[in-house]
C-alpha cells in the first residue's frame, strides 16, 4: 500500500533528472537540501550580526550617510556600561522580568492544576482563559490604558470597590510607584494562559499508574504533589519560563502602548531604550553596541538555563 505511490513517484521522475540525481553522493544531496536554509541563515541572521558587531565599534549614524565613519574602539561599550540611565533601564527590565515570570508561573500552574481536574465546562473554561494570549499586544495595551484610566477606568473602580478608596485617587500608569506594577499586571493577564497550557501538557503527560502506585503505597495527596506532580511537570515549567523569559527580556510593544516608557523613564525597558537610541536618535554605532550587550546577556543566560533544563530532564 505504501510502496505504490512511491513507485509511481519514482516512475514519474523524468529520466534526465533521475540520472543526474543518481550520480550525486548522499553528502551532495544533503547539501542541496540544507544549502538554501544555510544561505538564508547567513544572509538574514549571521551577516547582520557580524555587521552590527562591526558598527558597534564606530560612531556611525544611519541618518548621516555622508559623514565619515570613525572607528572608536570600545568607546560605545564604555559609555553604555558607565551610563546610569542604561542601568536604570536594565533595572526596570529586571523588575519586569522577575515579577512577570514569578506571577505567571504561580498563577499559570495553579490554573493548569485546576483545569486538569475533570469537571463540567472544562473545555469552555480553557478556551476563555486562553483568550488574552490570542489578542494583539497593541490591542491589549490600548484597552488596558482605558481600564487604568483614573476617572473612567474599570480597574480603578474594582480596586475602589474592594478598598473603599476614591477611584481617581491613584493613577496606575501615571504614578512612578504603580506604573512598573501596571505593566506587570497586564503582561501577566495576557501571558499566564501560555504558561498554563504548557503546564497542562505536562500534567496530562503524567501517567495515572504512577499516582495509583503512590495510592497503593499510601502516599498522601500532598506528598504525591511534591514527589510526583512537581518533578514531572518541572521540565515543562522550565521550558515555559525560558520562552517567557526571552520574550519579556525583549518586551517592547505592550509597554510602549501602555506607558511609552513613562512616567519619566520608570518603565523604559532596555528594548524601548534601544529603539529610541537606534531609530529616534539615530546613534547607530552606540545602539549597535547596546544591542550586542543585550544579545550576549540574553544568550548567556539562556545557555546556562538550557543546561540546567537538560539536567532536570535527565533526572
Amino acid at each position: 500500500m505504501i510502496e505504490k505511490p512511491l513507485n509511481r513517484l519514482a516512475q514519474a521522475t523524468p529520466t534526465p533528472i533521475a540520472r543526474r540525481v543518481k550520480g550525486l553522493s548522499d553528502r551532495a544531496i544533503a547539501w542541496i537540501f540544507v544549502g538554501p536554509t544555510i544561505f538564508l541563515l547567513l544572509v538574514i541572521n549571521i551577516f547582520p550580526l557580524i555587521w552590527t558587531i562591526n558598527l558597534s565599534f564606530t560612531n556611525f549614524k544611519a541618518n548621516r550617510i555622508g559623514r565619515e565613519i570613525e572607528y572608536i574602539g570600545l568607546r560605545n561599550y564604555e559609555r553604555i556600561l558607565g551610563d546610569s540611565d542604561i542601568w536604570l533601564s536594565m533595572q526596570a527590565t529586571a523588575h519586569f522580568l522577575f515579577w512577570t515570570l514569578f506571577l505567571q508561573v504561580i498563577i499559570g500552574f495553579t490554573l493548569a492544576w485546576l483545569i486538569n481536574r475533570k469537571f463540567r465546562g472544562n473545555d469552555l473554561w480553557t478556551t476563555i482563559i486562553v483568550l488574552p494570549m490570542m489578542l494583539s499586544p497593541a490591542v491589549v495595551g490600548n484597552f488596558w490604558t482605558f481600564l487604568y484610566q483614573p476617572q473612567i477606568g474599570l480597574f480603578n473602580y474594582v480596586v475602589a470597590f474592594f478598598t473603599g478608596a476614591d477611584p481617581s485617587s491613584f493613577e496606575m500608569l501615571g504614578s512612578v510607584n504603580l506604573a512598573p506594577w501596571a505593566i506587570v499586571i497586564v503582561d501577566t493577564w495576557m501571558w499566564t494562559p501560555f504558561v498554563m497550557l504548557i503546564c497542562l501538557a505536562g500534567l496530562r503527560s503524567i501517567p495515572n499508574y504512577i499516582y495509583e502506585a503512590a495510592e497503593v503505597d499510601r502516599a498522601s495527596k500532598l506528598r504525591q504533589f511534591f514527589t510526583i506532580t512537581i518533578p514531572m511537570v518541572l521540565p515543562f515549567l522550565m521550558l515555559a519560563i525560558l520562552f517567557r523569559g526571552i520574550e519579556n527580556f525583549k518586551m517592547f510593544d505592550l509597554v510602549v502602548q501602555l506607558t511609552g516608557g513613562g512616567p519619566g523613564s520608570t518603565t523604559e525597558l532596555a528594548s524601548i531604550n534601544l529603539k529610541r537610541e537606534a531609530f529616534e536618535k539615530w546613534r547607530t554605532g552606540y545602539s549597535s553596541a547596546f544591542a550586542i550587550i543585550l544579545f550576549v546577556t540574553v544568550f548567556g543566560l539562556a545557555s546556562i538555563y538550557v543546561k540546567a533544563l537538560n539536567k532536570v530532564k535527565e533526572r
Partner: protein, 439 residues
C-alpha cells in the same frame, strides 16, 4: 493622401498626443501629519489637480508617529513622498543630509519672493543655516501654541463672584503665566453644573515631542534661551538660568495642581478631548485646531474663546507649523515644484486660510479683514510676532529626546529638582554637539 495614409497619420498623432499627456500628468504624493488642516489641503488641492492635470495622493500619519515615520522615510532615501510638509525642526537635517531640494533657483525663476511671507515663518520653516537666504521649503502652515477657555464659565456671575472672593481679582483671560496658574487652580476640582471639572489641559506626552512643546510655552515667557551667544552652543547659564528653573518649577506646579487626574502622557488629542468633554476650563493646543474647536457644536461658538500664550518676563510662544519641501529622492520633482508654485499664489493662499489652513502669506495676514475673519485670527498674529522654536539642528531628534526625558523625569515622575533636570539636559546636549564636532 489616400485613406490608408490618413488613418496611419491619425493613429500616430493620437498615440503621440496620448504619450505626451502621460509624460506630463504625474501622480504626486504629499506627506503630512493627519489632522484637520490636512483634510483642508486635500480639498484645496483639487483645484491644482484641475489646473495641472496631475493627480494628488496624500499620506497622512498621526502626529505621535509622524516624525518617526517620515524621518525614517527620508533617511532611507524613500520615494514615498514627492512633497513633504515637514516639521520646522527638520529643516537642518533636511538640508544638510540632502533630503530636501534647495529652492532658491526655482523661487528666482518663478518670481516667488520670500519677502511675501511673514518673516518669522520664513526664518523658521524655510532657511538653513538659520536666517541665511538658503531656502529649502515654502512656508505652508503657520502655527503656534495658544490657549482656549470656556468663555461661558468665565462669564457666569456665580463663578466670577467665587473667583473674586478667592483671589480678589476679576476673572478673565490671564495676562501672565502666574495668573493662568491661579485661574487653573481656582477651577481645579470645582463643581460646575453638578460635574467636577479641572483647571487646564497641558502637554505632558513622553514619546514624541509633547512635554517639550508644553514646557517651552512656560520657558519662553520667562526669557529662556538655548545659548548665551547664538551659534556658539554655550548653554551653561542660559538653559539652566534662574529664570529657566523658575519656569520649569512653574510648569510642574501647573501639572500637579491644575490638571485632570491621569494626565501623565497627554498631547494634542488628549487636550482636545479634555476640553470638548467639558472636563477643563482651559487648554493649550496649536492654533491649527482652533477653527475646529470654534465649530464644535458642544463647546464651540459662544462657549469658547482664545488667547495667546501669556507673557511673564517677556512675551513668547512655542512655534509650531511647517514648510512644504520637495523631496530630493522624488522622481517627479518638476511636477512637485509646479505644486509649490501653485500653492504660493496669493489667491490660493487666501483660499487656504478660508478653508482652515494658516497661511503665512503677507497678502493674507496683512489684509484689512484678516483680524475679523475668525475669533482667533488676531491672537494668531500676536503669537507669531513672538514665536520661538526648538533647536533646528540636524541632530534635533537627539536633542529633543534628551529634553523629553529630562523634563518628563522632573515634571511627571517627580525625580530631582528643576535645576538638576536642566543641568543634566545641558550634559546631554553637550554630548550631542561634541559628537557632531560643534563643541
Amino acid at each position: 493622401m489616400n485613406l490608408r495614409k490618413l488613418t496611419s497619420v491619425g493613429v500616430v498623432s493620437l498615440a503621440a498626443a496620448g504619450f505626451t499627456n502621460a509624460a506630463q500628468a504625474e501622480d504626486l504624493t504629499l506627506c503630512w501629519a493627519a489632522w484637520d488642516p490636512a483634510n483642508a489641503l486635500v480639498e484645496l488641492s483639487k483645484e491644482f489637480e484641475e489646473q495641472s492635470g496631475h493627480t494628488m495622493h496624500f499620506e497622512f500619519v498621526p502626529w505621535p508617529n509622524f516624525a518617526d515615520r517620515m524621518l525614517n522615510e527620508l533617511n532611507s532615501g524613500g520615494k514615498l513622498c514627492d512633497l513633504l510638509i515637514g516639521d520646522s525642526q527638520w529643516i537642518g537635517g533636511g538640508a544638510e543630509n540632502g533630503h530636501y531640494v534647495k529652492l532658491n533657483d526655482f523661487f528666482d525663476k518663478e518670481g516667488i519672493s520670500m519677502s511675501d511671507f511673514a518673516p518669522a515663518t520664513v526664518y523658521a520653516y524655510s532657511t538653513w543655516p538659520k536666517g541665511t537666504p538658503n531656502y529649502y521649503a515654502l512656508p505652508a502652515m503657520g502655527d503656534a501654541n495658544g490657549w482656549f477657555y470656556r468663555k461661558d464659565w468665565f462669564s457666569r456671575d456665580d463663578i466670577r463672584a467665587a473667583y473674586k472672593q478667592a483671589t480678589g481679582q476679576e476673572l478673565g483671560e490671564p495676562k501672565t503665566q502666574k495668573e493662568l496658574l491661579q485661574i487653573a487652580q481656582f477651577f481645579q476640582e470645582r463643581e460646575i453644573d453638578g460635574k467636577k471639572v479641572y483647571g487646564a489641559a497641558i502637554f505632558t506626552e513622553r514619546g514624541s515631542e509633547g512635554i517639550t512643546m508644553g514646557v517651552t510655552s512656560a520657558l519662553y515667557p520667562w526669557g529662556f534661551e538655548y545659548e548665551n551667544t547664538p551659534g556658539k552652543y554655550d548653554m551653561e547659564g542660559a538653559v539652566n538660568s534662574p529664570e529657566a528653573v523658575e519656569a520649569l518649577e512653574f510648569y510642574k506646579e501647573l501639572y500637579e495642581t491644575a490638571t485632570p487626574p491621569g494626565y501623565t502622557n497627554s498631547y494634542m488629542g488628549e487636550s482636545l478631548d479634555a476640553f470638548k468633554s467639558g472636563q477643563v476650563a482651559m487648554a493649550m493646543n496649536w492654533f491649527a485646531f482652533f477653527p475646529g474647536l470654534y465649530a464644535d457644536p458642544n463647546t464651540g461658538g459662544d462657549k469658547i474663546d482664545f488667547f495667546v500664550n501669556p507673557p511673564q518676563n517677556v512675551p513668547g510662544s512655542t512655534l509650531g507649523g511647517q514648510g512644504i519641501s520637495v523631496v530630493s529622492y522624488s522622481d517627479k520633482q518638476e511636477a512637485s515644484l509646479e505644486y509649490i508654485k501653485w500653492f504660493a499664489d496669493p489667491k490660493v493662499q487666501a483660499k487656504w486660510w478660508s478653508m482652515g489652513g494658516y497661511s503665512a502669506h503677507n497678502s493674507v495676514l496683512g489684509s484689512d479683514t484678516f483680524e475679523d475673519s475668525a475669533p482667533f485670527a488676531g491672537d494668531f498674529l500676536v503669537a507669531m510676532e513672538n514665536v520661538k522654536d526648538f533647536w533646528q539642528e540636524p541632530t534635533y531628534a537627539e536633542l529633543l529626546l534628551a529634553m523629553q526625558k529630562r523634563i518628563h523625569d522632573y515634571v511627571v515622575a517627580d525625580q530631582g529638582t528643576a535645576k538638576e533636570a536642566l543641568d543634566k539636559l545641558i550634559e546631554d546636549w553637550t554630548e550631542v554637539f561634541e559628537d557632531e564636532g560643534k563643541l
